[in-house]
Subunit: 293 residues, 2 copies
């Protein structure tokens, strides 16, 4: 049921927050529809199940919540798409690490996050998330990266090219900076390897004026549109490739690395655990099946 | 090949360290032999493979190393038994969190660690580790806990009873304190559940005098003997139970929780990652296969 919205009773959203939230939910609807269409093309009738959750505020104040959408299909072995709009106060320790929350722990966060683990080892897994955060400051952040168990240069190139095109109106070095940030961020230090073939990562696109809000909100939407444009195209390019047990074994070992990254290093996971997020929504990024030799 | 010892060329071990090390390696040999015997009883010819690794000291000094032993059998789906003897200097940040290393980051650590993931969901998985650490202070630490995907009260009771018996010569409240410590430690806060049915956990059994060293070394040996006595008995009690796909699915989901604990909270994992340990040895505790719904 697209249109499913988190219950944010008691959170007073202003115009910027309301617009950001509405757009994240609209993007969710369009992504879920696009993914379900791919399942139809593969002859499957899989669809998204949606589950609401409420944030439990430690002070008992209204805390907002989210909607977790999950589809388990023939092409998408497991894909989760979350939207959430949560608010309240960070705990004091955590507040110190958050932009603009050093002296006032109040926050409101609205965003979308998505991880797809694919049945066919030739189809890359993918991650995407975007958020609008308000503390005493406000900013957009987000990112998307491609995670092929079996990489194809063609897929890597077209994923990066589409993100580069989305970034180019915003400055000649934007794509370089954000793709470099992704390269540094999506790295597994204890293994000495990248978790995938990169993408972009950005944070703290501050919105200190109306003009800056409009610009950075438009950038966020452009990145979202780029994702919706390129990822389904890559899936269609690979979904009919045949695969064997060896390919599957390679994917399951690769997913072990992915789980390590998400549990040890991922900031979104940490943010969720530290802010009383829904545990099933936070850990939805974990693979449906993984192996460690 | 029991008897396989880490190369510790260049680490000057004194008498206490040498004795502790020798005992950990002897315990490893006896445990591996006991586990291989169980495989024989199940008609399998599985045996342990051993691999040496060297600790890479950041300053290029001799750093010691370890031996990682792994067996993949019919009863033991994957069991890893590590011994290691490593030394050098903690990095300054990490040193601040370690007993006796606040002002001098030099350390020597010798120990054993073991995790067994079992093929039959009715047979509990298990974890055990013990170590002797030297900084400006010296102490023993260790623990063992039982992790049944499908718990049986009889197994829980006999595991705890044997550990209680090992603790009882050391004081009337030793078992209570250490089993309570395990209850607090082997807990997954973000899930609000214990990872298993407990056991014991202890740390900082300091050895400031010869008499204290002898006492705490003897305690360590008694715990090791208790483990070697009770765990194979529990395995034999359950290994012939029949199981079906539903039992296996329950085990794989349970193993997902186990992986979460080890990657997010486990101190041994953190210690290994922070001291340049061997990544395959550190993460050997991860399950051979796990699922997240």
């Amino acid at each position: 049921m697209p249109g499913h919205s988190p219950d944010t009773t008691g959170l007073a959203l202003d115009n910027q927050q309301t617009r950001a939230r509405a757009w994240f939910e609209e993007l969710r609807d369009r992504i879920c529809a696009a993914f379900a269409t791919i399942e139809r093309e593969a002859g499957s009738d899989a669809s998204f199940d949606y589950a609401d959750w409420q944030r439990e505020d430690p002070e008992g104040q209204p805390g907002g919540g989210g909607v977790r959408g999950v589809m388990k299909g023939e092409v998408f072995e497991k894909v989760g798409v979350n939207v959430s709009t949560v608010g309240g106060a960070f705990n004091p320790d955590f507040a110190r690490s958050i932009n603009g929350a050093e002296d006032d722990p109040s926050f409101l966060a609205t965003g979308i996050s998505l991880v797809a683990h694919m049945a066919n080892p030739h189809v890359p897994a993918v991650h995407m998330n975007m958020r609008f955060l308000s503390t005493t400051k406000r900013w957009f952040g987000g990112g998307a990266d491609l995670n092929p168990p079996i990489p194809y240069d063609e897929d890597t190139a077209s994923f990066h090219a589409r993100l580069r095109a989305a970034c180019s109106p915003y400055g000649p070095d934007v794509y370089e900076r954000y793709s470099k940030w992704a390269e540094e961020y999506f790295f597994i230090p204890h293994r000495g390897v990248h978790r995938g073939v990169g993408g972009i990562f950005y944070d703290h696109l501050e919105t200190g004026s109306d003009a800056l809000f409009e610009r950075n909100f438009r950038f966020t939407r452009d990145v979202g549109e780029a994702f919706l444009d390129i990822y389904p195209a890559i899936v269609r390019r690979r979904m009919d490739h045949s695969w064997d047990d060896e390919d599957r074994a390679r994917m399951l070992a690769w997913r072990g690395r992915y789980a390590e990254f998400n549990l040890i290093y991922d900031r979104g996971t940490l943010f969720g655990l530290k802010t009383g997020g829904n545990i099933d929504a936070i850990l939805m990024s974990l693979p449906p099946e993984a192996r460690w030799d």
